[in-house]
Symmetry: C2
Subunit: 214 residues, 2 copies
């Protein structure tokens, strides 16, 4: 029996070349703790020819933008869903903080990738990235803070600055994991540390944002 | 009168080549909002030959390490001083937060520079950077949190995670100022915005870290 028969018989269809290149990029960036990874490493990890990056994505920039969409898209949909829910603003903030840290845990390069893509390409392309990935988060903070103030649950917090407070806090354990290594001797953010981080961030932000005694 | 006479007569001595290269690097990085700046731009800004970078610093790596020392050294000395002061832990945290945001306001590339240098060079060099610039901050958080818990002023906060909470929050407005531009149309963090940011960060962290009613 020829070997190829075995592959054809597997029940799960093999991932498309496009999906394999995206997943390989994600894994290589995570392992390198860096966005500056050579296409040859990505292609080798995917087991595909590097020329396919041009075929599927038009080039490395397109690959990186597609990875941002793959990794951040689901979180944006969840955020939309969260805004619709009939729960207190404090609970929305709590779920959002936990979800955001979970997203950075899965994709520790994500915040850096966003900033990199806002620095590169045409002015139009940068604005498109911001409109697609930043503005929905910014709008969510405006809605949650406005709701929280309206029912007297939140103190007088500026939602624009809250954006930077929250993203910075939730991301830094991941984008600065090299500090965790050289300062504390911890070489990996594992699930237990992630949960501990969520607990502390939720405590600080809920106490910090809610009026006393809320 | 020859022109050179005028220079000789000025009361302030001209900055050394070393100091001029450091200041030029700082200005070029700030203007580019990036660490990836060519030596030729730095030399042009300093009005000096790029070969002097090798003479004074041994190369670009040495230049970057010297800039980190120039920019972070004073803040570390202030932190030492703060620890010695006979004030409540909550006040130490408040002063530290304001000082840190002030440092990032002056040197918006500083946190990124630190992370970059922890990724580069020999293992020994990376550890030296961490020992010099990270561990004093980590130790300060341990001391302040221990003092705060001992007198019942702080809740049960983990100082190691507080490090990432604080650095991430204080830095993000500066390392992600490109988000401020494309998301909010604000092209510069001016003094008023910096003060507003300090107020909000101090509020969130003091309410977040202190026990209720402290």
């Amino acid at each position: 029996m020829p070997r190829s028969k075995i592959v054809v018989d597997t029940e799960e269809p093999p991932a498309s070349g496009r999906a394999r290149l995206l997943e390989a990029t994600s894994q290589v960036m995570r392992a390198a703790d860096s966005l500056e990874v050579p296409l040859s490493d990505i292609a080798a990890k995917a087991g595909l020819n590097a020329a396919l990056v041009r075929y599927y994505f038009g080039g490395k920039d397109g690959l990186l933008r597609a990875l941002l969409e793959r990794d951040a898209g689901a979180s944006l949909a969840e955020l939309d869903h969260l805004l619709e829910m009939d729960i207190r603003p404090s609970k929305k903030l709590r779920y959002h903080l936990a979800g955001l840290i979970g997203t950075y845990y899965n994709f520790p390069y994500l915040s850096r990738l966003m900033i990199k893509l806002l620095h590169e390409g045409s002015e139009e392309e940068r604005q498109r990235i911001a409109d697609r990935f930043l503005k929905p988060i910014a709008r969510a903070y405006e809605v949650i803070v406005a709701e929280g103030k309206a029912i007297g649950e939140f103190r007088n917090i500026d939602p624009k600055l809250l954006y930077f407070n929250v993203i910075g806090t939730c991301d830094h354990l991941f984008s600065s994991s090299v500090s965790l290594k050289y300062c504390y001797g911890i070489t990996e953010v594992d699930d237990a540390l992630k949960r501990q981080y969520i607990d502390q961030v939720v405590t600080i932000f809920l106490k910090g944002v809610l009026v006393d005694g809320a």
